[in-house]
Symmetry: C2
Subunit: 427 residues, 2 copies
């Protein structure tokens, strides 16, 4: 008997017929003797419907009071899901009870529409599990210290599921999704992409943050912090496949580093075209300029990803970074009106037609030459590199977006990712 958390996305919850199938799948796990907690998302389309209604009425300058109401509104989508799933389980003859975030409670900070989980009280959950019930908990939402409903932002249900799994020390958190696992890269770009049986938590973190949309990045961070084993698997398999088969399907995100990726230097290629490049040109080359530039950008609530500062020349240097494309106009405005005059810089330029391509792999730590192999591969394809950023387990380059698919395919081939390699477990 294990303590298991299941997370189901909006597609799995998209109709009463599908909810019935989720209930049958959960019931199968219960009958196999497991203690079950289930975290479903809102029925597909529901969150968008609710936010659409709000948008029709929204003030032109929305403030905190508005975002509070958005969360009040949007959180109902998951509340409907948990109620329906509890009912469907009861109809399967399984004792089930549903809770909203505030009922657990799942405590968050007060950052409406993008709150962060601070703590989860496991007492109510444990009591119900001990009483033989399946506990169904809303994803995506929580409650702040003032008793206001908060939501975790898009994809937050993954985070909820992992956080609940951490709080109750679950043996595994199974994320049922519309892909059957984590791939070496996006199969829509590289048809030869392979599903990984296992991936280390750190690699997954890089893959998720690079735009591999399988899991929300915060859920992976949470899993890392609390060492929750996550399995990403398909919700499209029939509910009645043998449970042993289901329990071994998908991709396990693991913390047992040694076992997993020893032989593969690179485990995946991630890419992302959501970013734009900003360069502040002719910045006086003196201490404190990075803080001044990025401070102004952070004050405007704009997240920065890759940051590059080159060696200066003639007392001047160029300073570049990437931001989300949606923030480009605002970033340029902040820089032009505040930073350039204050610093005495020459100019600011932005470019949205870029993409970021990364090779990710724990194996890089002990294998030299991955970077040069990557750069040589791109050069052979005639692709110019605009920015480079490295960490212990990934190398990212920023290139012209028109070369994105070409670069991903070339790198996938270069690092032999279409060849099965993770057979080292003897499985």
């Amino acid at each position: 008997m294990a303590l298991i958390v299941h997370k189901y996305g909006g597609t799995s919850m998209g109709s009463t017929e599908r909810i019935r199938n989720v209930a049958k799948r959960v019931a199968k796990w219960v009958r196999a003797g497991h203690q079950m907690v289930v975290v479903p998302s809102a029925m597909s389309g529901e969150t968008n419907r609710l936010l659409g209604l709000a948008k029709e009425l929204a003030p032109s300058k929305p403030g905190d009071a508005y975002y509070r109401e958005l969360d009040q509104l949007a959180s109902t989508g998951e509340q409907v899901s948990v109620g329906l799933l509890a009912i469907a389980l009861q109809t399967e003859g399984i004792d089930a009870v549903s809770y909203c975030g505030w009922q657990v409670p799942i405590r968050t900070n007060s950052a409406y529409t993008k709150a962060r989980i601070e703590s989860i009280d496991d007492r109510r959950i444990r009591a119900d599990l001990a009483a033989g019930k399946v506990v169904i908990i809303t994803g995506f939402q929580g409650v702040d210290a003032g008793g206001n409903i908060t939501t975790l932002g898009r994809g937050g249900s993954d985070t909820s599921a992992v956080a609940v799994a951490a709080a109750i020390k679950a043996d595994e958190c199974l994320i049922y999704t519309d892909v059957d696992g984590v791939y070496t890269t996006d199969p829509r770009v590289v048809p030869e992409a392979r599903r990984l049986e296992r991936i280390s938590f750190e690699e997954m973190l890089e893959m998720a943050s690079m735009g591999s949309k399988v899991l929300q990045i915060r859920s992976v961070e949470f899993a890392g912090k609390y060492r929750v084993p996550i399995r990403v698997l398909s919700s499209f398999t029939p509910w009645d496949i043998p449970i042993d088969e289901e329990a071994r399907s998908g991709t396990l995100i693991t913390f047992e580093e040694g076992e997993s990726m020893e032989q593969a230097v690179v485990s995946g290629i991630a890419f992302n075209r959501d970013e734009a490049k900003v360069s502040v040109l002719g910045v006086p080359d003196k201490p404190g300029i990075a803080a001044q530039i990025l401070g102004a950008v952070a004050d405007a609530n704009i997240d920065v990803d890759v940051i590059i500062q080159n060696v200066g020349k003639d007392g001047r240097t160029d300073f570049s970074f990437t931001v989300h494309r949606n923030d480009l106009a605002r970033a340029l405005d902040v820089l032009k009106t505040q930073v350039v005059p204050a610093l005495g810089a020459t100019d600011v330029v932005g470019d949205a037609r870029i993409c970021k391509v990364s090779v990710v792999g724990i194996g890089m730590r002990s294998h030299v030459g991955v970077a040069s192999r990557m750069f040589r591969c791109l050069a052979a394809e005639g692709i110019n590199i605009q920015m480079i950023s490295t960490s212990e387990i990934k190398i990212s380059v920023v290139i012209d977006e028109k070369y994105m698919e070409l670069a991903v395919r070339a790198l996938h081939r270069e690092f032999d990712l279409d060849q099965p390699t993770d057979t080292l477990q003897g499985a």
Copy 2:
């Protein structure tokens, strides 16, 4: 400056366009200097949609666990409404905040789908009002001592509004609805029916319980208990009519008896064809039979309305009462299987083709002869009376349902209800 509660029904909240109009109307009251609390229902159709989803998944033998989930589900309808209305008010430049039942909290017992309000904490509401905010509170729902969401049953939003008004000692509770007040009888039956400017709380209680569907009866009981003045008025008037005109429109349900109905002996004719008649025949005429018969019916959770026991003959008597038509079959079953054998009664008969017609009026207390005038009027129309039940302020008769409209029209004319009489306030 007054402290005012507005209640809006599902039709008023039926679309973002209508919600915008509700916001404009509330904003008008705020700008006139009033402190405002608003209790909206779910958007029309929403509660049915949610319960429909539940029904598709429901177990064949629903128990308490199921009804708990129904409330979890159904309560989201009002949660969406309050969020949207708060946003619409913010867009009007009005500071507004919304609360679910559990956030206030509105404490209820644990009778899922038909809970009763036990207490309302007014601290959060008062603090927000003092800070100049409009407070928007979900109708229809509350929270029990265990932190479970409960709902008050159909029409419960009226009760919520009146209960909130009582808790904060509001000056008036305005119920915006799809009729423009309380009428002497249903205008669909008697076109000459007139709107009453005022009606006493006790008369309203009789009118509401008799099937005048303007207000949920429990809300009227609540208003009586806490002496909350209620005004029933139309939500179809344009939002921008002068506030003085709006504040005097509709029907005021008042506690200042003296002022209101002095001259009118009868203020209205109520009627109802939701009931069925049950007669237990040949009951031994001895002490305790009423308790035995009605005890068995009450144990089966069936509400009884009119009860008649006639003088006995030869040691036997007949005992009749009315129940809701939906309960007739069950009541007959209980009586046949349990009561008749135990009592040694002769038989049980039921009749669903009846209706109840009542004349209601505080004035009856001091005017003799209302009953005989009523019976004479019905006799003149050839209508046979099957049962009679009286109270200080109403006389009800049970008659064949085919005579209902005829009886109502005749009585409306008989008591001069088509003539304006309540001009005594000099208005």
